[in-house]
Symmetry: C4
Subunit: 233 residues, 4 copies
């Protein structure tokens, strides 16, 4: 993909995120990567969504982590995206929001349990929360360490980032990813939806058990993998 | 009704559902049946609502359960609709959504109690939840078995699908029905409203008793049956 | 006021109510009275808001309770409005909604406590709930008895309908009133707002005491009565 | 700044507040000060937002507290703004709303805890609640005393109004401030967002600890002070 095309794509994804209702003000960001050229594009830091143009998108090298061209500063979360692209090889786009209900679970340090079929359609099990970061991790290379602690969460639990394309960073908010930037946004939308529903199950004090494993398998696998039968061929 | 008319009607109903705020993305579906010709029309699987045209609607035989004409795949929930049309003879339209508050009760495996007059205007008693499905039911003919477990729920409780035109499928979401597709949508809207109110009664920890039977009778019967007096003649 | 003017006014009020977000479908209604001619106008029963015209508004005699002219059936709640106009002499307009949060308190049979200054700006104390109606009251002249039980609630508690222009009918929903139909709508809006806030105070399990009496007095009296100083003279 | 410019600026800020969804009806107000001329402009009392013009903005002397020119009555909360401008020297604009979730905490007399990074980006610690006012404070110079009790809250807790540009007045609602009127509105928006999230953490009964101090420091200081690195230079 040529650099102008990648910028255009990531620009459009950032506009879609702005229209999604998942972000307020200048919070949140989307990036997308071109694995062939080893470059990803990301929103600049602190620029209002309505002022963004494709040329504002900042290109970053997957190898060095540095901006490829001089220009605007990339999002302050760039180092987090970088670590995720490095560790999760199938990830083509990343979204960070502070969407309300997902952030509630991040602040409550509580995983979003897989309690229903919509959750299972997209996330094959609970959405995990990272451990709190140490003082040293926060004070030195905070954003890079945020990425590393996400990777540690998945590796420690032997979770596949394809099976569960979302995480809650403790006391911060969600990151989601997908095959490209637009899939990552779709996952951010569904994550917020399942967080809303699960929050309400908890807030009404329901003691319901989670669904049987077979139901979760059924829903995830009818949309993913070789036996998928949802949608048109 | 001619096939093009049925497709047109069900197309319009699916657009109305998309505008209702009850569905997100490609989730949810509406079908409508023409009992005379033994055919129902339903949304195709996984097609975004904004791309739908009347010609996309898939015609399905009530007798065989197969598509009447070659074309798009019908909604993955088609076999559920089929079983409901077969068992509930007065049902002319069916809606499936993952509307937020009704889904909360489905995930909490908790019936929506009849706690007020709006509920009683539409649903003559609590809205029930299906039992969890067995591994065998999930693994073989899952969608068909979803329909059968709904029918079992009504028969087991001696509930009339006309008195309570709604159900919560455990860990999944609501189905509603009615005399036609548009009535089924109206029931989906009211179900979500009564779920919102009842959820809030529960979440505030109120220990209020349900309304007296006479009040529920009064409201249901002033809108339904031979002594109805609501609306214009 | 001439009959066409009263119809026009009440028509406009019903449209404003429809736009307020406080009602869904054909639920809810507004009426307004012309005390000089002893006639009030009210929404017809079961007509969608978007089809209403001024000519649809039904005129009802305060003395006989009957429609003044032949035409559409008045709202099924007309007999309730009638009793309120008869008992509350200063009431010029009445609104009935099933607005979500006020209805929650009605279903929970829980008064909306006066917990803050906005509440006190409009309602001089808690908003009461009626007692449950008896089987006889429900089965015979239900709507008229709904009005009578509201009046009983205010008389029994020595509450002035001017100080607290709102009530919650148990397991049903709120009625509000005011100097005219538009003031009654304003009270319906504020009632829903204070219900939202008080519901959230309860749902977070806060054990906060109500505000000191002097604060409630201050706020009600700076907007009402001879020493009011809010707004322009 | 010339008086017409100050009126224009504060007019625009009041329109932005009206569009923000943070106020209902005529509630709420924004003011902005020109420290050089010792004058601030504020919304008039009880005028609907859609009727406001720049000429309606009332100019008030910081020294005397009186209107500089004859004209409309200033907001009934003017004396509160005056005391805040006098005590908080760096404050250039003030906003008062009854935004729903912040008001919930005010009515619950519960501080909004700093539980996440968005909170820490804007408010360096918990957002405090004022003590209840005495009968004498309410009955005499109520609005002025509201300002004084806010100032007392900050001084008593040795809180800097720059570090925490927001307060909850018990049983009333929030005030926010900032370098100018628009920054004060931004703080009102973020305050409502963090109140929503924290309310939901509490309502789900989560017992999560607050974030580590180092994380709060990191977020506040990456946006404020000499080592800030968020946004473009």
């Amino acid at each position: 993909m040529k650099a102008p095309d990648l910028r255009q794509l990531v620009y459009r994804a950032n506009r879609e995120l702005a229209d999604s209702g998942l972000v307020m003000g200048t919070f949140g960001n989307v990036s997308g990567i071109d694995r062939a050229s080893g470059v990803f594009a990301i929103k600049p830091s602190g620029v209002p969504y309505e002022e963004l143009t494709p040329a504002h998108m900042v290109l970053v090298s997957l190898e060095t982590g540095a901006s490829v061209e001089s220009g605007l500063r990339p999002s302050s979360d760039t180092a987090t995206h970088l670590e995720l692209y490095r560790a999760f090889g199938s990830c083509g786009g990343i979204v960070h929001t502070h969407s309300e209900f997902a952030t509630v679970f991040a602040q409550a340090r509580t995983p979003i349990r897989c309690m229903g079929t919509t959750h299972a359609d997209y996330f094959y099990g609970d959405v995990p929360v990272t451990r709190p970061m140490t003082r040293e991790e926060v004070e030195r290379d905070y954003e890079k360490n945020t990425g590393l602690v996400i990777v540690e969460t998945f590796r420690g639990a032997r979770l596949s980032p394809e099976d569960v394309p979302a995480v809650l960073v403790a006391n911060h908010g969600p990151f989601t990813w997908g095959a490209d930037a637009f899939k990552a946004i779709e996952h951010a939308r569904v994550l917020e939806y399942v967080a809303r529903v699960e929050w309400r199950v908890r807030a009404m004090g329901a003691e319901a058990p989670p669904p049987e494993t077979c139901l979760v398998d059924k829903h995830f696998l009818r949309k993913h993998g070789p036996k998928a039968y949802y949608g048109q061929k």
